[in-house]
């Protein structure tokens, strides 16, 4: 505890190596800033956070200093309101604005612009500059991020985030003096899969969301609700925004333990599948479907991309013994294994914050950048932070002095070891990156568990070691080896998971859909695309008399169904999802579904002939032992603040008497929401709601995302109020299932081992339908080693694996282990890795 005097007022603060800017903001004081970012820390480039610092109480003159570069210490005296500091800050803004264009009306940042906020905060309300402004040409940075360089104030946040934090290489500061240019060497799509965060990192409108720009709506008109990303198993918190029935964008919703300040591009830009014109929207007659239910055996397949409530409603409809998990057999077994391994592990799975704090990492068989991308960004921090912490301690550099610390460590990284078949995006920060076939990766894991080799030695010295594996390798042996290694090292164990509710579905302990009996008369498929899961899907469906599909995507299964009940997407539904840690979190409806579309659990309840509220569905779910306590994920629907619900619309929402006036000149009533404490309205509680219900970050004078500072207990800390989510997974429950190292991998002359390749863009079925993501999805190609590539001459090849036959172009990956090839997932329903054959294509022939 320390006492700091700000403008002669004593404040008790916890310095903790924080700077004065962080202290001031944590105290709720307004101090303008640009180059400091709570995750990127300080460089002192913009000079906007100037304060007057006094030596002691007798010092009346003080000196001007940058708050973000000064560590907070006990007894410090500073002034934010000293006229000299105020004038200095105003002059800084004035100079920043000299070249700033007259763009606000056509700038997508307008209305949520940190530069606007800071300009107003410093009181610079009139431009006196009468001379010519410098201009820049823009670059086309691909389908996701828009570039408008004129608006740059040269705070350097973008390159610091992109290069230093996210490890991108193609965005840089070019040119010099007031010509400095933030862009690429030439036009082209930004390579980093985390480029979307530039939109939120850049305090101006240089980098904006290109998908939002195509259907632009200002922040003050977006109806938002607390939501979750549904595009992988990490469970990042998001804030999707809607207007006129169209989902307009997704923004990051800070969660201290999970996504922090950043999302990946799949999560940020995958939302457009909600607006897909091809979505099923016409419902079959539910009474007819109800009639089918009594015609004989009924079975249902739940889905890892449907909420717990939807799955529970299906289970209640068909009965527990007829409830199956709509997951491919291999994946089903693997997820069940990983769940079992996590439950017996002595420590719970680490949150992403704990991943970032790890000081040694072993990554087995997994390329998280393409499976659970946000985890990869966290792992990168785990690789870079320990040397910076060490340098800070020896050189006495405060922890917020980012530039100095990075200068001090240069390219040093933590003990970070990767063993995968293919190159990963994290190889650059690894001490060692080994290219091994999955069985060899597993053998390495067991060897480390046995304490053999230098990797084991390096990991054993760590305080907070971490072992990461997952579904990406498709190999149960790797998962078991990872668990063995983690147990031996006393490390945290982290498994990646494919879908937003994979673990949630696994907790139902249902058999996989492949085990479904063949005498089923009526099959109810909940958000399950059988063609993606089972090679014999078509034959199976033909045998079923009535196929009922509930889905929000136009899948081949929907096309083959006898009855389709269109379901709501995550943005139109309430639901609870369980992420890779076993954390159950709630997402809320952003806007009500229109037409025939209903929430899946509502359809299923209707088929069962019951009417329940969402809370009743959750309560019934909580009665199952595996889900005890799940209703604590968010407040119940009756929850009120000062008797009021939480409004989904900002208090400035415009056009309420005109939006529907062309249809009916009488204003519509707001749709009721019996399922949550939120309202589809601008009326309601205007203060800060508890974290699980926070629909947006806004505070008076803080219109940008950076209003987040006002919602945190302290800068960078958790949100105020109760934490979001509850943990469902038990820990340390018993004996370790025995695992033995597989025999070493032997290449075969007559066959090739096809390994699965996931890609951040395209491998996940929901986001694959978003135009921005689809534009970046690489054309399917088979990756082979150098020798094979030379032999096949680069031409298209015919791949036979299981019953599937595919013709694919070739791509060379020289580091691939001999005897393996890498096949993109989703092209066929065969389980990978699998042995198959490869024959030269037409050009070879």
């Amino acid at each position: 505890m320390a006492t700091i005097y700000i403008d002669n007022e004593p404040y008790t603060v916890e310095p903790n190596g924080r700077n004065l800017l962080e202290v001031c903001l944590s105290l709720g004081l307004d101090l303008p800033y640009f180059c400091w970012h709570p995750a990127l820390k300080s460089v002192g480039a913009c000079r906007q956070c100037a304060v007057i610092l006094f030596r002691d109480e007798n010092d009346t003159r003080g000196r001007l200093t940058m708050a973000c570069m000064t560590a907070a210490r006990d007894g410090m005296r500073l002034s934010l309101t000293d006229p000299r500091a105020v004038a200095f800050r105003a002059s800084i803004i004035e100079w920043l604005m000299v070249n700033h264009p007259h763009d606000c009306p056509v700038c997508d940042e307008g209305g949520e612009c940190h530069l606007q906020d800071m300009t107003v905060m410093t009181g610079h309300v009139r431009r006196d500059y009468r001379f010519d402004k410098r201009t820049h040409r823009n670059q086309n940075l691909g389908p996701l991020v828009n570039h408008e360089m004129n608006r740059c104030i040269a705070c350097y946040r973008c390159v610091r985030y992109y290069r230093d934090y996210a490890g991108g290489r193609d965005l840089q500061a070019l040119g010099w003096h007031d010509h400095v240019y933030f862009g690429r060497m030439e036009d082209g799509t930004l390579e980093s899969p985390f480029s979307g965060n530039l939109v939120e990192v850049c305090p101006t409108g240089v980098f904006t969301d290109k998908t939002l720009g195509r259907h632009y709506t200002r922040k003050w008109d977006l109806q938002t609700a607390p939501s979750l990303c549904v595009h992988c198993g990490v469970g990042c918190n998001t804030m999707p925004g809607e207007r006129y029935g169209l989902l307009r964008r997704v923004q990051n919703r800070f969660h201290h333990e999970i996504n922090g300040y950043f999302l990946c591009d799949r999560g940020r830009y995958g939302y457009e599948f909600v607006n897909d014109a091809a979505r099923p929207r016409v419902a079959a007659d539910p009474d007819t479907v109800r009639g089918w239910l009594s015609e004989g055996r009924v079975a249902g397949a739940g889905s890892p991309r449907a909420s717990l409530e939807a799955n529970a409603a299906l289970r209640a409809l068909v009965g527990a013994e007829n409830f199956y998990a709509g997951v491919a057999p291999a994946e089903h077994a693997l997820v069940a294994l990983m769940r079992a391994l996590l439950e017996v592990h002595p420590t719970p799975p680490p949150s992403l914050r704990e991943v970032e704090e790890a000081d040694a990492v072993l990554l087995l068989g997994e390329d998280p950048t393409h499976t659970t991308p946000r985890l990869a960004l966290a792992l990168r921090q785990a690789a870079l932070r320990p040397p910076m912490a060490a340098a800070g301690a020896t050189l006495k550099i405060p922890p917020f002095d980012d530039a100095a610390l990075r200068e001090a460590v240069q390219d040093a990284t933590a003990p970070f070891f990767i063993a995968t078949p293919q190159a990963t995006a994290l190889d650059g920060v690894a001490m060692q990156a080994l290219r091994l076939a999955p069985d060899d990766v597993a053998r390495l894991g067991y060897a480390i568990a046995a304490g053999e080799g230098e990797i084991a030695a390096a990991l054993r010295n760590a305080q907070r070691p971490l072992v990461v594996a997952g579904f990406g390798s498709g190999s149960p042996a790797v998962a078991q080896a990872a668990a063995a290694a983690a147990r031996a090292l006393g490390a945290r164990l982290c498994f990646t998971l494919p879908a937003c509710n994979s673990l949630g579905l696994a907790l139902f302990d249902a058999p996989g859909v492949a085990d479904m009996p063949r005498d089923v008369k009526t099959l109810i498929l909940l958000e399950t695309d059988l063609f993606r899961l089972l090679p014999d899907a078509e034959a199976r469906l033909r045998k079923v008399k009535h196929v009922v599909v509930l889905d929000c995507l136009a899948t081949p299964t929907v096309a083959a169904a006898h009855a389709v009940l269109p379901t709501a997407t995550f943005a139109e539904a309430d639901g609870t999802l369980v992420n890779y840690e076993g954390r159950a979190q709630r997402h809320f409806r952003v806007f009500p579904a229109t037409g025939d579309v209903r929430e899946a659990w509502q359809w299923l309840d209707a088929l069962r002939g019951v009417t329940r509220t969402f809370d009743e569905v959750t309560a019934a779910l909580a009665a199952l032992p595996a889900f005890a306590g799940v209703e604590g994920a968010a407040p119940r629907a009756e929850f009120r603040l000062l008797g009021q619900p939480v409004p989904r619309q900002p208090h400035r929402t415009s056009g309420r008497t005109a939006v529907t006036a062309n249809v009916d000149v009488h204003e519509p009533t707001t749709p009721p929401d019996p399922d949550s404490p939120l309202a589809f309205s601008m009326e309601g509680y205007q203060g800060h709601p508890p974290a699980p219900l926070t629909p947006r970050f806004w505070a008076p004078g803080w219109n940008s995302q950076q209003a987040l500072n006002k919602f945190q207990q302290e800068v960078g800390g958790p949100l105020v109020g109760r934490p979001t989510g509850v943990h469902l997974l038990p820990v340390n429950t018993g004996a370790v299932p025995a695992g033995t190292p597989p025999p070493p991998f032997q290449p075969r002359a007559d066959a090739v081992l096809f390994l699965p390749a996931h890609h951040i863009f395209g491998s996940e079925p929901l986001s694959a339908r978003a135009p921005g993501i689809a534009a970046l999805t690489p054309a399917p190609a088979l990756a082979v080693g150098a020798a094979l590539y030379a032999r096949l001459g680069g031409g298209p090849v015919e791949v036979r694996v299981g019953d599937a036959v595919l013709t694919l172009p070739l791509r060379e990956d020289p580091a691939l282990p001999v005897g393996t090839a890498v096949l993109p997932v989703g092209l066929c329903a065969e389980a990978l890795p699998a042995w198959g054959t490869l024959t030269g294509g037409p050009r070879d022939a």
Binding site: H215, R218, G655, T657, A658
Partner: protein, 171 residues
């Protein structure tokens, strides 16, 4: 007491004064150009739509009677895809005109817009857009904005230097 009687008398004498009422439909008063009546969307001096669909008018409107959707042409010029004013709600406060950064939305001295049904008071862009510049003759927002649009490249707006050559070595 007397003053009360005086007042009554005074008021009584007004019975023989000239009446000040203007008998409206027969007689019309000339209105100043800044009268706040029917709203129009104007064009810039080059004849192009002035509105850039910034949504400032709609957010400032105290009764929320303006709704629009932003869109842009292939050159990046922004304009409203639709623009709707529900005049049955408008209170003719003029805030929208004050907020408009492009002088696009303007109130005119036309107040004769009574209708027998409310839906007839819902005006779409076709009903609002006029062919002239309205009260402000010279302003062309895109001439001062930094955004490049069709016919105006970077560096061609007022008070702009030509675009920086990032690869240039000259100071």
């Amino acid at each position: 007491m007397l003053s009360i009687l005086h007042t009554i008398w005074n008021v009584f004498t007004h019975a023989f004064h000239r009446r000040v009422t203007v008998r409206y439909p027969e007689e019309k008063r000339p209105l100043p150009p800044r009268w706040r009546g029917r709203i129009v969307l104007t064009r810039d001096p080059d004849g192009a739509e002035r509105c850039v669909a910034c949504q400032l008018c709609s957010v400032v409107c105290p009764v929320g009677c303006i709704a629009l959707q932003t869109t842009q042409d292939e050159t990046g010029r922004r304009y409203p895809a639709f623009f709707r004013i529900n005049f049955s709600r408008c209170i003719f406060c003029g805030f929208c005109e004050e907020a408009c950064p492009t002088c696009a939305i303007q109130l005119t001295p036309d107040y004769e817009m009574a209708e027998y049904t409310r839906p007839a008071l819902v005006y779409e862009k076709e009903d609002l857009l006029i062919d002239g510049t309205g009260k402000y003759h010279d302003y062309n927002y895109y001439r001062v904005a930094g955004l490049a649009i069709g016919g105006k490249d970077k560096g061609e707006a007022e008070h702009e230097q030509p675009p920086v050559d990032v690869r240039g070595l000259l100071p």
